[in-house]
Symmetry: C2
Subunit: 388 residues, 2 copies
Amino acid sequence: MTRQHIAHRMKGISPFHVMQLLARAKELESAGRSIIHMEVGEPDFSSPEPVITAGKNALDAGLTGYAPAAGIPQLRKAIAESYKRTYKIDIDPKRILITPGSSGALQLILGVCVNPGETVMMADPGYPCNQNFVKMFGGIPQQVQVDRKTNYQLTAELVEKAWTAETRAVMVASPSNPTGTLLPKEELAKIHQLVQEKGGILLVDEIYQRLVYGVQSYTALDIANDLFIINSFSKYFGMTGWRVGWLVAPEEYTECIERLSQNIFISSSTSAQYAALRALDPDCEVIFEKRRLDFQERRDFLYTALKEIGFDIPVLPEGAFYLYADCSKFTNDSYSFCWNLLEAEGVAVTPGKDFGENNPQKHIRFAYTNNLALLAEGVRRIKAFIKY
Amino acid sequence: MTRQHIAHRMKGISPFHVMQLLARAKELESAGRSIIHMEVGEPDFSSPEPVITAGKNALDAGLTGYAPAAGIPQLRKAIAESYKRTYKIDIDPKRILITPGSSGALQLILGVCVNPGETVMMADPGYPCNQNFVKMFGGIPQQVQVDRKTNYQLTAELVEKAWTAETRAVMVASPSNPTGTLLPKEELAKIHQLVQEKGGILLVDEIYQRLVYGVQSYTALDIANDLFIINSFSKYFGMTGWRVGWLVAPEEYTECIERLSQNIFISSSTSAQYAALRALDPDCEVIFEKRRLDFQERRDFLYTALKEIGFDIPVLPEGAFYLYADCSKFTNDSYSFCWNLLEAEGVAVTPGKDFGENNPQKHIRFAYTNNLALLAEGVRRIKAFIKY
């Protein structure tokens, strides 16, 4: 058996380049080097105590069997209630399906909606897996270059200009990974209207929804019901390793999505769903809001510090935990820059290459997922590095 | 947005018919009816105490972040050691990748190996998701009808006869779901040789590997290294709801599989992997072996009892926890029979329809996942039902 048996689709599916860098960083750490991590999209907070206790209680109660494919009813209901509490909107729990992380949500929606040969429009730079999911189903990612002029987000105008006969769907993310920028609700409403007129479908990634600073979060469900929402307990709720996400779909799609989910996942982790249920309680929100303010402080520090050194970050990003900086003052090869920075100073950051084809060599993503002291040390080292 | 946006692939992806029956069974239970469950492929045992404790300890230790895409190194190593201990074979841990259940393993292997338009050969009756995974990637399931003559398993002769220019892969399962029958190691070796000669790939589902009765279990890795193994902590290890499985791949495929896994899953549940690690310890094996003997006793009871009533089960199945019975003495419409049995007597079983196109109307799958007392009550009720 030779590699000739590898399917053609794998040619188009890129690895996370940062993973090699992360592996090298860990190698250096094992050898005793101090490494400052600003590369990983994972908070340094572990899951809060009440969430952990709820997971443990579920295990103690023997809740170790399969859950329903669409998720435990209590969690679907609690998510609906949380939409009501936070955004004053009514969502039928039947439209909410629990998934193994938001990755599972993305796969189900694209699997149910996209035919081979159809295109899915998305912003470049963007989350790298989006295009790989589309390719996995034989679809064609249609990457629309965005820049500081539109705050690194799609606009109705850009969508209209890029639309072709093959365009099936448009994906947006607010806040965005890697740029941390928001899509204004009014602009999203315009995009939604346009996509409806064109007869396409709209996917809204709200994974970082509640990680916003100085502004109110919103949900696209407040604009319309005929769109798809992708969300997750990973980021705001600090539950990355549990693998629980959710989607909200228009009612006429839920049967298909549940059918596909039965077949490809059977179910999401049962005890993790009970832990996620606990995360939605108001006393946990107090913990998450405290953490959100910590992230805000980190963002403020890092944004200012990086700009002072000479990185170009056009506007203060209002969400997620990333800064996407133009590094062309220092290099036109951000990939080598990242590797050299790691080897010389022990600071790990993510090269633009991981986020698309839109001038990646000029960009670096900094994650502010570590505490202020570590961020300050990181900045000190970066400063030393660029002085060479 | 209308249902016109549902992708064509969804037409070919069937639901689990038994799920509707299960929903009705639960409805009846809520209304106070006693229901005997012989439909679900999930042991009545919850995860053993040491496994639960290990999961809880991982949570207490704050292991709530992402794991590596290929799995935590300790678990990959422990699985390799378990192959060594149980089957005396050396497998490089690098060839072992942890997946979100064996469903994840199936998806990764088929995603990496099967191009649209290529066919994947499998036995009918068989596990229903296999063909749906193939269809999801644009492949064509090639179902080969098997019956009592070959113990409901593929043979080298059947594979040779069914082979076409489009055949890319052959899938076998030993023990098989729904029939519980084994593929003799010698016959599997012949199938492997044939598939190699034809230039195809071989997938061996060993999910029920160690749930065998009165015979020695084996692994296809003892025959050759150039094949793919799918396995799981769900069945023998009693960990269905944790969603941890694994695959073993030829070395030249591991990079692609890990790359696809990074993109579509990010990682499997971290705490669940630590729990699974504990399940491989020798003191846990004592618990699992005790449970295995319980299953054997249940099989012996149910096999004899169903035959006495008049169900036709050609040979005593030596594995898994299923009996696949010919019910044509009572009906030529097993689907209605199952529904009527549920409504009249409160016994839930799975109609043949869930397992393929090979005379499903004449077959029913009985799961012996409940204790002897419940099985005996189930048999009493079935007897009463067929006397009408």
